[in-house]
């Protein structure tokens, strides 16, 4: 950790006083208004009066064509979360700002209803009356029975902290895009499946009608048609037309990805996408050539279980039927996965914005310190391939958990039900395409490799990577399920991969192996960074403040920033918005293909014109941010509870290069500091990062910090003990009781530098005599003291190797170790410290150790400190130079030098280590006398 939000919180009062006293009073115009809620007697951390909910949550709403906007579910699914907050009202609010140009209909140019694959729209919306601010993500799902085939949905992240929404817009957008993409993927499959069923019905109907007409023809040899016959003929014609329309729709839904491919370097992830792309011509054959014959054999062959129904010419009235639920629309697997993703999002963004930002910054910075960060940083963090994934693309991490969950659930009948969806998506593909999939794997794989190389360079790649991981599993799972579902169908033989249906667990195993090979480099997330510049404007991200009459002044105001070259696209959008929708399901059998039904203008309130601002999304330049971020001043600024202090510098850095007007952010910030803290106080104080492992880590930190605090307060000889650890001399905690020893070991473990990117060299509990190998491996050992012959051996070994170890006797409270006269450790472990909380102390330690690391880094990588400048320079002068540098430049005294030297050795070892072979652990030691410390 570079900086600690906790530290901020607990030092603020003193600092505030200091600052107020020392600085001359501000001119009137700059003076800081008092805390606005002070009059209510509330403390700054209390819940903001305005908001009616206790913590951030995610709301999914739908604009139902039958009942209008309605909330569907919240995450977390807990009535207490939303409290008195009116979800219905808020659903109305968020659904009324849908800028998504999602209309299906018969465009003038085309003869058939056309599916529009629209991008999601992302909007920030504030309702100051409700005290709620939301990131709103609109998306459209397809439903054959719905009007215009579309069902508008939205997911909203609702928080009382406006600032948080603004700051985290990019991250929220990326995460929600993933969730949305997951839903839409499931939906496309379900939709295609539905279309196929429908086609079968229609085909059957046509056959029946045809037969009837024939019979009538035979029966009627008068030479003229009866009205009955004409009616039948019309009906037949309309059915045939309907078939063509549906086939066209099916083609469209399957062709989805390669349409996208043409526009960007977007990587499709569905099997049929790749196929479609590879074999577009074939696909055309399949669906568009002669629909009758191939369609018949094809469709009936595959789904023998489905019995086609006769479709009546007049379909039921729209309002009579029950609309499909979200689960039905997306199929259960994708639905649960989306929910998991949303839970993940909720967890990731839980807590104070200050914490989130600090965390992001420190991660960004740590990532750049690749040379030194292994020393004191947490191992799991470093293990992660792309470090930012932990909070951004948590999906990748949680994937396993999701998979596991799914696999456990997989025998459930639900999944079996949804098999049809997979079947359709896979089966429709001609067999020869399968090989082409395999062929197309290679180029994709290389692409993924290049992304990895660029990983550090650009933020965009991280997004791609994150999405890759999620894509894989979806794809492979789909195939597998379809395969197992197909075992009884005739087409089984046609599938090259036909694993026998197995238990869920073994499926997962195989799936994992497949995805490890990264067979498909896929993406579920078209976050805006992936889309080329000129494409962006067509799915606007807008920030909207509902204009209350008296609120307009205080509302968010943003300077519109439109790229000139986006203007055209902008127009397109507005055109599209004006398009009308056709409810095709209602018009089947109707004569007029141009039946147009204007929709109510959902997102077209006139007042939006000035309230809405489009922010062209821009890549979040992390590196730049990290370098520029003046977080040195950040804590103190944040600490001012006056609140209206200028956030200009910080927030601008922190938001990256987002074009946000300064004034508005300043105004945000005033309320934010309370609101955000309110948001955090009502839930846990420390926001728990993404997954359980992290929570455990967090808990461990807290515990370790607390124990360490206790240790430095209790033991007057804490300094030499910590010095031993920092200088690489193994410290042995000797004691009879395991719990006490382990507690001490945990406390002291935060001071132990890592020797490599492996686990910390800490051994909590040992009962056997120690050996020199142990000192090589472990730098902190908990050792059992036994009153037995074995115990004598243990002690004997200890005294034998006493030159390599410091011994802390937990029972008699003594310490035997070398003398320490430096100054560094006293800053690290001041027994009079005012820090009270474990996690705070942990962060304090981390920050000092980070400082230490930078010294070690400097020392290690200064050439002349280690090697002679000229050939003839004697070794002594190099040694002199080295010592001078340590003493004067780095300001180290006495034993502190040894600490830095030890860390430098670790850095060297780590750096020169060849990737293939592990480090040969070596033991460095000094011949220095030890002393016995007593309380």
């Amino acid at each position: 950790m570079i900086s600690a939000p906790d530290v901020v919180a607990f030092t603020r009062e003193e600092e505030l006083e200091d600052e107020l006293c020392s600085e001359p009073p501000l001119p009137e115009e700059y003076s800081v208004p008092l805390f606005p809620f002070a009059s209510h007697g509330a403390n700054p951390w209390a819940k903001v009066a305005g908001s009616k909910f206790t913590r951030d949550f995610i709301l999914i709403s739908e604009f139902s064509e039958q009942v209008g906007p309605q909330p569907l579910l919240t995450i977390p699914d807990d009535a207490k979360v939303s409290g008195t907050f009116d979800l219905n009202y808020f659903s109305l609010r968020i659904m009324s700002v849908d800028y998504q140009a999602s209309f299906v209909g018969h465009p003038p140019s085309s003869a058939y209803p056309k599916l529009n694959f629209v991008e999601d729209s992302k909007v920030v919306l504030g309702d100051s009356k409700e005290g709620a601010f939301a990131y709103v993500h609109h998306l459209t799902l397809y439903d054959l029975e719905a009007r215009g085939f579309v069902r508008p949905f939205c997911m909203a992240y609702i928080s009382a902290d406006e600032h948080k929404i603004m700051q985290q817009f990019q991250e929220l957008s990326a995460e929600f895009s993933k969730a949305s993409e997951c839903l839409k993927t499931g939906n496309r499959k379900a939709f295609a499946n539905e279309l196929e069923k429908k086609l079968k019905d229609l085909d059957y109907t046509r056959t029946v009608l045809h037969n009837e007409t024939e019979i009538q023809k035979k029966a009627n040899d008068k030479g003229y048609y009866t009205t009955q016959a004409i009616e039948k003929a019309n009906e037949l014609a309309s059915v045939e037309k309907s078939i063509i329309e549906h086939q066209d729709l099916l083609k469209q839904i399957r062709s989805y990805p390669y349409r996208k491919l043409k526009e960007s370097d977007f990587h499709p992830y569905e099997p049929e996408c790749a196929l479609g792309q590879a074999n577009a011509g074939c696909g055309q054959d399949l669906t568009a050539s002669d629909p009758a014959e191939p369609g018949e054999t094809h469709l009936y062959a595959h789904v023998p279980s489905y019995t086609p129904k006769l479709i009546k010419a007049k379909s039921a009235k729209c309002f009579d039927k029950k609309l499909k639920t979200l689960e039905e629309l997306c199929d259960i697997y994708f639905f649960t996965q989306t929910l998991d993703q949303l839970h993940q999002i909720e967890r990731t963004f839980r807590g104070d914005v200050c914490y989130l930002l600090t965390d992001q910054i420190s991660r960004a910075l740590l990532k750049q310190q690749s040379v030194t960060n292994f020393l004191f940083e947490d191992v799991p963090f470093l293990d992660e391939k792309p470090p930012e994934k932990q909070y951004r693309g948590c999906r990748g991490l949680s994937q396993d958990a999701v998979d596991r969950k799914c696999s456990e659930e997989s025998p459930a009948p639900k999944v079996v039900i949804s098999l049809g969806a997979y079947k359709s998506s896979v089966e429709c593909v001609p067999i020869k395409m399968e090989q082409e999939i395999e062929d197309s794997q290679e180029p994709k794989m290389t692409e993924s490799v290049t992304f990895e190389h660029q990983e550090n360079l650009d933020y965009l790649d991280a997004d791609i990577k994150g999405s890759i991981s999620s894509g894989e599993s979806i794809e492979v799972l789909g195939t597998e399920k379809s395969a197992s579902g197909l075992t009884k169908s005739e087409s089984q033989a046609s599938l090259p991969v036909s694993p026998s249906p197995q238990a869920g667990r073994s499926k997962v195993g195989s799936r994992r192996t497949i995805s490890e090979d990264s067979i498909e480099v896929l993406s579920t997330c078209p976050s805006e960074s992936l889309i080329p510049e000129d494409f962006k404007a067509s799915y606007p991200s807008a920030i909207n403040e509902e204009p209350y009459a008296d609120d307009e002044e205080g509302g968010l105001r943003f300077t519109p920033k439109l790229n000139p070259d986006n203007a055209d696209e902008q127009e397109d959008v507005s055109k599209q918005e004006n398009l009308v929708q056709v409810d095709s399901s209602c018009c089947i059998g109707k004569e007029s293909p141009n039946f147009l039904e204007p929709l109510p203008d959902l997102g077209q309130k006139p007042c939006d014109e000035d309230g809405v601002v489009r922010i062209p999304p821009q890549p979040y330049r992390q590196a730049e941010q990290g370098l520029r971020g003046s977080f040195g001043g950040f804590p103190s600024h944040d600490g001012i509870s006056g609140g209206f202090l200028s956030y200009e510098v910080d927030s601008r850095y922190l938001t990256g290069s987002r074009e946000v007007s300064k004034s508005s952010l300043d105004e945000c910030s005033d309320s934010t500091s309370y609101i955000s803290s309110a948001a955090s106080t009502c839930s846990d104080r420390t926001p728990s990062p993404a997954h359980p492992a992290c929570q455990a880590k967090e808990r461990h930190k807290k515990k370790a910090g607390q124990n360490a605090l206790r240790f430095i307060r209790q033991y007057p000889f804490a300094h030499p003990a910590i010095y031993s650890l920092l200088s690489g001399r193994t410290l042995i905690v000797l004691g009879e009781e395991e719990a006490i020893v382990k507690k001490l070991v945990t406390a002291l473990s935060i001071f132990v530098p890592n020797c490599g990117v492996y686990a910390k060299p800490v051994k909590h509990w040992v009962t056997s005599p120690l050996h020199v190998v142990d000192f090589q491996k472990w730098k902190l050992i908990g050792l059992q003291r036994m009153v037995s012959p074995a115990g004598v051996n243990v002690l004997h070994a200890l005294s034998r190797y006493s030159r390599y170890v410091s011994v802390l006797d937990a029972d008699s409270k003594t310490l035997r170790c070398p003398l320490y006269k430096g100054t560094l450790v006293s800053r690290l472990a001041d027994h009079r410290t005012q820090i009270k909380r474990g996690s705070t102390y942990y962060m304090h330690v981390q920050s000092i150790l980070t400082q230490l690391c930078s010294k070690a880094f400097l020392f290690t990588f200064c050439h002349h400190l280690h090697l002679p400048i000229s050939e003839r320079e004697p070794e002594e002068s190099v040694v002199n130079r080295r010592m001078n540098f340590l003493k004067l430049q780095l300001g180290l005294a006495n034993e502190d030098i040894k600490i830095v030297q030890y860390l430098a050795e670790l850095l060297k070892l780590q750096y020169i280590q060849e990737p293939g072979q592990g480090v040969n652990p070596l033991l460095r030691f000094d011949y220095v006398p030890s002393f016995l410390y007593k309380i």
Binding site: Q368, Q369, S370, V371, N456, H771, V772, V773, Q776, A797, R800, Y801, S802, R803, F857, T860, F861, H863, H866, L867, Q901, E905, K908, L909, Y911, I912, Q917, N920, L922, L923, R924, F925, D926, Y927, V928, P929, S930
Partner: protein, 442 residues
Amino acid sequence: KSSVQTIGEEQIQNPYTELLVLKGHQDIVRFLVQIDDCRFASAGDDGIIFLWNAQTGEKLFELHGHTHKITAIAPFSSSDASEEKKHLILTASADRTVIVWDCTSGRQVQKVSCFHSTVKCLTVLQRLDVWLSGGSDLCVWNRKLDLLCKTSHLTDAGISALVELPKNCVAATVGKELVIFRLIASDDGSEGWNVLEVKRLVDHQDNILSLVSVNDLTFVTGSHVGELIVWDAVDWTKQACECNFWDSSVPPDVQPEIKLSQSPNETSVQHLTSDEECVFAAVGKGIYVYNLQMKRVIACQRTAHDSSVLHIEKLPNRQLISCSEDGSVRIWELREKQQLPAELVPTGFFNMWGFGRASKQANQAAKKMQDNTPMYFLELVGDLIGHSSAVQMFLYFGELGLATCSADHLIILWKDGERESRLRSLTLFQKLAQNGDFQLKF
């Protein structure tokens, strides 16, 4: 409790501040042999031979072939002008085989298994390009592993040590006897050799445990009861004999109790080494320096270790390293004694001053020494503690450090921390330059 000299934790002169534990063996490691400047082989009771890089501690090869413990090992580097230098090692095992290994490829070159008894010693006569194996008989082999000739069966005990002497002679120790063999070029073949027993010397009272060649004119033997005999290498006559000199050379007033409890085991000459002037003998727990010119012990450390000293080596810089069954390795320095009156003052001073810290007790060494006879004394300058069991042998690699092998199955490489640190820096900057990322991603 014991009079063993100790040195505190402060060891300024001890250069070894870094250690590397080499794991691999599954039983006692008894032999270390240097192959070239930076490689060495280790072998022991598990029958496996390991080749190591002395600089990095990297395990180069693991040679499997013997089924029993290794009894002898000898480097055998060919100096053929035509080929590049080929490093071979010979290993003899209790499975009655001798295997030749190629150190470059790590492969078994050839295996000889026609022995009637275990080969206990191997000697390479570079000059004649033959090697000898000693067991119950003495065999002479050429490079291609053809048996050139052999002696008749000597004794069941067999030859325990061999040393090359001038004029194509070798000295072999067989029990209490020292047998001199001569290799004679056979009359018929060009390559053939005949081996002939020339002389049998029976001056030792007990088994000869150590045999070392000092120079072309002298070699020394030591026996189990503490006899040390200096022999003329040409005419095999006794030049000097110190049968009981371990007792007599030390005045009885210094440590009478040790003398009383002296058992043969404590006077056995375990190992001998020499430079041009002196012979260094590991006798029991002590170390003795015998000057060949003066024909007497010039310095000694009667209880250098807690138990028997197993191996002793002289370093170029007047230092001496010894290792012992007590698991420690000690570094000694042979110092000339200062004028006698002045000597007592610092010692006494240090004794009082250093009582609590026990760090300067090294100077007590001076006190233990005889007042007038030895003009030198051995000062303890450092000890290396790492092994948990008897240190069987060590190998001094000069700058690269020191390799020690032990009954605890481990080999430890002791290194000069300063030097290693410098080397690592060098590697670091080389790698930086190589990678071209002087602008690290930070």
